[in-house]
Point group: C2
Chain length 208, copies 2
């Protein structure tokens, strides 16, 4: 299959979330133009994005909401249950562990790890906090698919080394540093400082 751009994948995700809302409203079909307007893009963009994976619509009519939902879930790999571990038993991890939306989409948080001895062994969001050193042997039975790294910057390189050793191939990184990983490991960075700086830039340069 042709390489799919990250921006395309983000939009597919967005379309899916719109479709879920529409499904709840009980509507059964939707046009590319309606989806486009909800997402702040163009109808051509929507059709092009979808056409990369097949042709799911009916000319003159639009897309069947449940069918397109199903297809998008399939494309995004949301058919299976993904096993997620959180590294760093802090606020960010807690926000993720609590959010019901993840479980609904098949992301199950089944382990939490930390370096802090004071936290290890304690209950945290219905899970026992374990030592990072245990990650590798735990992953033999837990088979984690995704690691959420939410540790302070200074600990993160060591933590990532453990994650890689555990054979985990996908990382959601909240630490404000760049991770060094082999090519077969996918990383998505969420960097709140960067987002705030983007807003700062926008505020400082309005009107030029």
């Amino acid at each position: 299959m042709k390489r799919i751009a990250e921006s395309t994948v983000r939009r597919l995700s967005l379309y899916l979330s719109f479709l879920e809302g529409i499904e709840r409203q009980g509507l059964t079909t939707i046009s590319s133009d309606e989806l486009a307007q909800m997402g702040g893009t163009t109808s051509a963009q929507v059709r092009k994005d979808l056409s990369l994976f097949g042709s799911f619509g009916k000319r003159g009519l639009g897309y069947s909401v449940p069918e397109l939902s199903r297809k998008l879930r399939e494309i995004l790999g949301l058919g299976k249950e993904w096993r997620v571990c959180i590294i760093g038993a802090g606020k960010i991890g807690a926000a993720l562990a609590r959010y019901r939306g993840f479980a609904e989409r098949g992301f199950q948080v089944t382990g939490v790890y930390d370096v802090d001895d004071a936290k290890i062994g304690k209950k945290w969001e219905n899970l026992n906090v374990r030592a990072i050193a245990d990650l590798e042997k735990d992953s033999a039975k837990h088979a984690y698919d995704i690691a959420v790294v939410a540790t302070p910057a200074e600990n993160t390189p060591a933590v990532v080394k453990q994650v890689l050793r555990a054979g985990i191939k996908a990382i959601l990184n909240f630490a404000p540093i760049q991770l060094a990983v082999p090519a077969d490991v996918t990383v998505r960075n969420v960097n709140m400082a960067m987002e705030l700086e983007g807003l700062s830039f926008a505020l400082s340069n309005r009107g030029d």
Copy 2:
């Protein structure tokens, strides 16, 4: 000035964070190639990004670390103190309010708001939680520059209406919905479900 792409701004932010690390190490100059390697890009990209704002380097030598830091901070608008309010006294807001990196970069969280009567009036991360209804009158004296919206999806449209009414022109949105705002308001979305779905896609399509 020429329109600057969001991807460029993100990279500038990234360069700045590298420079801060390098500054701590005590190095005084750096080449575009070194910066590029840290950020996983090319030296040409680095030079092009910087050249959009001026020419800060010395041929044959590279860039002065403190000078380039200063310039980047200026470009990104980090010279001034930005006043930030957090809407939604939950885990995400708490993670932001606590992170020392923000204060260091000039983002000061000076107010927290919530809809939940049980939270209003309580202390939260050294701040008093206030009612969202108070945002508009508070912003007269607080002059918030940026609102961090971290509320459940269902409350978010109403919350955003209040934010706009308070005259705030920059929003960092963590709610998993698309915000409708006028053109002079800048929004950055952080959507963790979307990030996890991106990883799910990558895991499901490895090797094609």
